[in-house]
Subunit: 472 residues, 2 copies
């Protein structure tokens, strides 16, 4: 029987059960699974246990697996061991239950772990909570789609292994070794992840390239203690002065990064892709105005869409030194530090970029100063195969659900696990997600459009059917 | 009767009573009078009350006076209203009971408000506590000298008005208006302050010039919220990038400040003073090595002693933006800020320097960015009259106590009240103090040498006698 024939019943079931889907999402959102902060270790475990119990109700063989860090959930749909009468695609679905820290808490309009449906200024209904989008809301679109298929037909259109980790927001340092040690359990035809965005609120998208990431921290040290700037000012080196001088030189007047070798291996877009992207007409008006800006800040002479997706970038994500409380203190601090990340594109090697950055800093250190570095994470850029077979099926399914042509787009963000799946398991990854640029992920007042959640579930229900039918 | 004839008895009394002097200092040090933090407002009041009661026991007519901020103590020695048989000098003594914040607390070797005498690595006995030097220890040298004179002779060699404020560490914003409103109460022949340092642990000094201060804060704002650097990186302006670029350009390769007009009106030292200072032989070895440095960081081609006392400087005292917690967060913050101070010398006007800095920042702002400024404090540089009459008497008295010639020196620090005394009351100020470069003022583990405290009291006892005798 074609799955297409059952699809309408599944979609109807999704619509009828939507209030319950929402309540299940809320239950997950109430758990404070902040992976970065050791104070929330028990909450991370609680989120894993909760999600594991929920997925088990779908008939998955589900376990919470310890790692050297927060645990991972592994769930398998093919529990009865029966050989399938016909070859079915086997999909590895990946998500993460951990969320970003919530500071600054004062900027939230409501408590970050008390989810609620509210109305956006422009009338859209939204779910507001930390993790509403990234990634609890997104991963639950897939879980709820599976639930609807099981409820209607008692089975899934394809074989599914789910793996849901708890350290994505802190670089998956313990999850990747777990994957390597247990790679026999993750055999599949391809991977799917729901952690990316739409083209716009009405236009679905599949992400076919991801920028890589190198995240480094530098601490400049000078005197052996904090000093009084009246007594020592002018005589003693000030590490904030050194840090700002070095970081301030990373960009030239045209927004290009001056670190020697940074652009080595970076290629311009092929003319046909550039022409395609030009037509997408991503304008400062549409992309920057909602965040209060108007001028693209990247390399001069590049399209805005290139600046945010196909060009490598550098951002200083944090800086700290000296006295930062109320009022004033005439101090020359002993040290100052900054967190710096680079988004990489195809052709750039993370190790080389990290070394180039550190060499750049070290070469500019004045006497009496030392630099210490900390490596937070790295991942190469990923370019997916635009011709991979499941992509066409997913593209068609998405276009049917949303009534608009699905865009194949590059993303400026990094999902390092995609490269790990390729390297460790040999799997390509299909990246489908329903996030929007104004979702405030990693920021106060994170939200997920109710429409994204609802039509996201319906989209996955369609994609599962399309993947099965395409394989027949 | 010459006061010189009574002096030895006073000095003996100081030696005999020293343990009690120390305990009285400890009582004051135990009060957490941090003026910058509103949480310690009651402690500031408690410090004023405590000190007022103590000074009243010396026969001073003492009151705790409200200001718009923390209170001030005013104490007068001439209470009986009798006309003096002969003209006596009238001295206005100024000190402050407030102290700097103690953060980072983790770097203190003992609780900052539990004073104790400990032994320095090189064998010196030291008093360790916040305020041990600045300014509780220093002001108590004067109070204890008065106590010894009263105990031995029942009177003081000169008329004294003490005024001790509680907001020196936060710019005396409410004290200066208090001074202006009550200037009739502060008539005197000259002022004296004990808030400066020795030349070295064995060589007394009188400070004859002070650098001025302009302290400003700048906040750069870009987007209307924090952004995800994957989605927006390369497209959206990053205020940390803007801030580091602007601040990183303030110094040129030779350590000179590039802000247009900054050096306007700054004069080179007269050749004879420069020759004198060269002979003082302040070396990187003696001045920088104890703080772990070796290379003077100021303008190339200047003596180290010029860099720290007669040349204007700029220090970034604090910088903050984005994510500064553990680990990593891929954020582009909405804003970033820095606290910046300038030490000024004769010829520079604080208002012009502040405007020049703000113009410099504003001129370098890219589109989409705003700069907001906050004015923390300002004071012009002060050059005292080297020929003022009390100076010679104090110089002689200090040389007698320490057995070494007293150095007349310039200080790199600012004591803004000195300019206020001149402007408001028409008074010159005699600056005598017993601090050392390694006292860690404004830093963890602030200390005051026990020798500074003991011989500081003896020094003031001698100075009071010398001032009286010089006026006969």
């Amino acid at each position: 029987m074609s799955h297409a024939s059952q699809l309408q019943a599944v979609l109807d079931r999704i619509d009828a059960d939507f209030d319950n889907s929402l309540e299940r999402l809320f239950e997950l959102l109430r758990i404070k699974s902040i992976s970065a902060d050791p104070a929330f270790t028990a909450d991370c475990k609680a989120a894993a246990d909760h999600l594991s119990r929920d997925i088990a109700t779908l008939g998955f063989d589900t376990t919470v697996r310890p790692t050297a860090g927060h645990p991972a959930i592994v769930a398998r749909s093919s529990v009865n061991g029966k050989a399938n009468p016909e070859p079915r695609p086997h999909v590895l679905f990946y998500g993460h239950y951990d969320v970003q820290p919530v500071d600054p808490l004062s900027l939230w309009h409501r408590p970050p772990f008390e989810p609620a449906v509210t109305t956006h200024a422009d009338g859209r209904k939204i779910v507001v909570a930390r993790g509403a989008e990234d990634d609890k809301g997104q991963l639950m679109t897939f879980v709820e789609a599976c639930r609807a298929w099981m409820a209607v037909s008692g089975s899934l259109p394809v074989d599914i292994t789910m793996v849901i980790e708890g350290e994505e927001e802190i670089g998956s340092k313990n999850f990747v070794p777990f994957l390597e040690q247990n790679k026999g359990e993750f055999k599949a035809d391809f991977a799917m992840i729901c952690d990316t965005g739409m083209w716009d609120p009405n236009t679905p998208a599949i992400t076919t390239s991801l920028r890589g990431l190198v995240y480094d921290e530098v601490k400049i040290k000078a005197a052996n203690r904090d000093l009084h700037s009246g007594i020592f000012g002018g005589g003693a080196q000030n590490p904030i002065r050194v840090l700002t001088r070095i970081l301030g030189g990373i960009f030239d007047e045209d927004g290009r990064i001056t670190i020697p070798g940074f652009y080595d291996g970076v290629k311009d877009l092929p003319p046909d892709i550039l022409a395609q992207w030009s037509k997408l007409n991503l304008t400062p008006e549409s992309f920057l105005k909602p965040i209060g800006l108007s001028i693209p800040a990247g390399e001069k002479g590049r399209l805005l869409i290139e600046q945010i997706s196909s060009r490598p970038t550098c951002d200083i994500n944090g800086i700290f030194g000296g006295y930062t409380g109320e009022g004033s203190k005439t101090v020359i601090p002993a040290e100052a530090s900054a967190k710096i990340s680079f988004r990489l594109v195809e052709g750039q090697q993370p190790d080389k970029i990290r070394k180039a950055f550190r060499d750049y800093v070290t070469a500019r250190l004045p006497g009496d100063c030392k630099a210490e570095f900390a490596d937070h994470s790295s991942a190469p850029a990923v370019a997916l195969d635009w011709n991979m077979k499941p992509l066409a099926a997913a593209k068609r399914a998405l276009s049917e659900e949303w009534g608009k042509e699905t865009i194949l787009m590059g993303s400026g963000a990094s999902i390092p696990i995609v490269a790990d799946f390729k390297r460790t398991l040999g799997l390509d990854t299909l990246l489908v997600g329903f996030g929007l640029d104004d979702d405030n992920i990693h920021s106060p007042n994170e939200k997920y459009d109710l429409k994204s959640f609802h039509k996201g579930i319906r989209s996955w229900a369609r994609i599962l059917a399309a993947l099965a039918d395409a394989a027949r």
